[in-house]
Symmetry: C2
Subunit: 85 residues, 2 copies
């Protein structure tokens, strides 16, 4: 692995792991009032497209990051729909 790939994987780790405190906070508080349904809907669609892009570019950091991000972001979308305002 070269330095640029390492940077890409680190970037992916940060943007992906960032969703974890939000998932935990929303799970604990059972409150998703301030979260935007539009944000998480658009975001999930975009992440699926990034995943397809990463696969076509054979870009491991892009694939790995977006696969995990999709799991966390779709969990938040589910919470937003589940925990009614």
């Amino acid at each position: 692995m070269n330095a640029i790939q390492l940077l890409g994987l680190s970037a992916g780790a940060f943007t992906t792991i960032s969703f974890l405190p939000q998932v935990l906070k929303t799970w604990k508080s059972r409150s998703a009032k301030d979260l935007s349904l539009g944000m998480f809907s658009f975001f999930c669609v975009g992440v699926v497209m990034w995943l397809a892009y990463g696969i076509m570019m054979r870009d491991i950091p892009v694939i790995a990051a977006n696969l995990l991000t999709l799991v966390l972001a779709s969990t938040l979308l589910f919470f937003k729909l589940r925990f009614k305002d």
Copy 2:
């Protein structure tokens, strides 16, 4: 521009634009209680790293998407710090 680049730019458009409804919602409601400070802090650091990765890979979709995402995500980080719970 080829089809893969177009897919990458579309993916970037979706994940970037997704932050806009959240920025508008938080601006209007002046409420950021349910937003996680950890999420937006980690996310902004990660986006800066993605930007550096995109520049080193000379990957236009990655650069463009992360530049705009940084503006919107850092606005939300500012709102989270500004609009006290």
